[in-house]
């Protein structure tokens, strides 16, 4: 297992996101100055988790005790209660609150307990209680979903980039890798060889969770894929943005979320032509706490 290059580490990803977004001027200063809105932070889903019917573009924190606290100084921009909004739109986020922070950042705390949103203090300070954890709207368990929206770049930012690192020493698990062509899948390891041709390469990764419930398998923070030592894919779960009515992930090499995730639940990272011979394919993953894991397979292409 080798260390990921510096370019995949968080500060670099942050600067990358700042650079590409053209916004988030205060991003560098914001980094790690925010605090987790629910303590202790137990992740039920994270940025890039593919949950039922949606891609999580924030973090879902499990917990029934304590208060949901403002992660930064800010000003309440919007709040709504669970149910149908006056316009007739149901609130799938249940009771939620939007806090305007500096630098064009809007923080959203959703699925909180109905009737607990505190709007007496319109400008909450970091650490001020703003609601109670809840299970309002479309959410699998009790807690809060925290999302960070960069208004200037019109994109969602991985909250990991702004929050203190989690005390986590469990690296992500690489469960399998597969080559797919048409409807045929070759799970590497199980298949001794594959016919030559063009394949979609997918990898099944999960980051362990310590939460009492889950909204989806935890996504890694970064994935790097190489064939015979040559990097063919490097993805960092840093930002997400809707473009032309479709959600895209990654600041560099944006990829449609629908294309990234296969129906089997794997991340489909690249498409490659393989000719006869022996190839070595390697995947390296890293979570937000810097825990890394790698795995490699030798494949005979016939």
């Amino acid at each position: 297992m080798s260390a990921l290059p510096l370019s995949l580490r968080r500060p670099s990803a942050l600067f990358l996101s700042i650079f590409l977004s053209g916004g988030l001027i205060f991003g560098a200063r914001l980094a790690f100055t925010a605090d987790w809105p629910l303590s202790p932070p137990r992740l039920a889903a994270n940025f890039g988790s593919f949950a039922k019917g949606r891609v999580i573009v924030g973090v879902a924190l499990a917990g029934e005790e304590g208060s949901v606290r403002a992660s930064e100084d800010g000003e309440i921009a919007f709040s709504a209660e669970e149910g149908t909004l006056p316009s007739g739109l149901p609130s799938a986020l249940g009771s939620f609150i939007v806090v305007e922070q500096r630098g064009g950042i809007a923080a959203i705390y959703s699925h909180v307990a109905p009737g607990t949103i505190s709007i007496r203090e319109r400008k909450p300070k970091a650490g001020d209680p703003i609601a109670s954890p809840g299970r309002s709207g479309w959410i699998e368990g009790t807690g809060v979903v925290y999302q960070v929206f960069d208004r200037r770049a019109s994109s969602w930012i991985n909250p990991y980039l702004l929050l203190p690192p989690l005390a986590d020493d469990a690296p992500p698990v690489i469960r399998s890798m597969a080559f797919s062509r048409g409807t045929k899948d070759y799970i590497l390891g199980a298949a001794a060889s594959v016919p030559q041709g063009t394949y979609r390469i997918s990898v099944d990764i999960a980051d362990p969770s310590n939460a009492s419930w889950s909204a989806g398998v935890l996504a890694p923070y970064a994935i790097r894929l190489s064939v015979d030592g040559v990097e063919i894919s490097r993805e960092v779960f840093d930002v997400a943005k809707a473009k032309d009515g479709k959600l895209q992930l990654f600041a560099q090499n944006p990829m449609a979320a629908d294309d990234l995730r296969t129906t089997e639940g794997r991340y489909e990272l690249a498409e490659r032509l393989f000719t006869r011979g022996r190839i070595v394919i390697e995947v390296r993953v890293e979570d937000a706490s810097g825990n890394k894991r790698s795995a490699s397979w030798t494949v005979l292409v016939e």
């Binding site: 949606r54 921009a77 709504a80 006056p86 007739g88 739109l89 799938a92 479309w138 969602w156 009515g245």
Partner: protein, 369 residues
Amino acid sequence: MEEIGKRRLAAALVVVALLAYFLVCAFPLHKELVLMPVWTKSISVASVAQTANTSARQKGVSEEKASGEKVIPFRLGNRYGYFSPDGNIIFSAVADYGVALAPDAYATYDRLSEGFTIKSPYGAELARVAATGYPFFAAGRRFVIGPDQMTVSELSEPGAIKWSYQLASVATAFNASPSLVVFGLIDGTIVGLDSAGKAVLDFAPGGSRIAGVYGVAVSPDGLLVAAVTGADKQRLVILEKRSAAYRVAYHRYLSSDYRRPVYITFTSDGSRLAYESSSGIAVYDRDTKRETIISVPATAYLGQTIRRGQLMVVLSGSGDAKRLICTALPDRRVLDVPVKASLAFVEAKNDSLFLGTDDSLVRMDFEER
């Protein structure tokens, strides 16, 4: 004698002038508008579900076709159902979590809804939908909002997904016409999608320190889109479709500074826009581009016009203390009555007013005297 003659002449002239004034400048007094009670019905589940359900709903489609009557949906908290203008309670039930209601269909859904059944008011199954999220109906169209509050889909008649669209951020407001569906987002953008799910409007009004959309409305013809946007300062923005694009036709800063969803709606004939303002219900006249205020004592949460758009009905208040206020537009109040109910709704049709309060429905008809 000559002096007396002059006085008489002057008096006669005054009388003639007064007569002429009354004849020429006469303005008829407003007729008194009164509300006459027609019927009162209980909509408690116990009294209705056992009787009306069995008598009408189980007969299903045949009953619906036979009756041919237009039924009216109601929702009071988790209780929902349908009734006919003549006082027939089609059914009354309690939703476990949520319900989407329209005059022609409804669908109940669970908190973790991954599918639902659309039914007619008489219980006939219209469509089974396999979609994750919550349904909502408007302008004869059926939609689903995803668990992220950003993915919206429109359903076809048989319940298939016609199109899906990923909004740039969380939707806070919505409205639809037969040709246009509009969403307001937390990022301050107003997004309009046509009937094929193609974006035909993507506009961020700006001009406020904090961006946001607190309410949107589409005129029935789809040509006007209005929104209450931004905070510090809050703005009313009206966009009008000219050629193929929507352009700002009117805007003004408001004295309100809401940080929650606000009520805004076009009247059914599209001639006026009513929206919640800090001093009451503001009514914008599309033709004159003038605004008048209907002052109401607290949060107004429903505004409808009847009698050819000349009378606005508003239900206002909070808690158990609400008021039903009717105003002859632009600003002549003709009715203001207290409504003691924790849950209430009002529906205005033609010359009738249907008022729902907690567990009963009342029909009252306007009469001129």
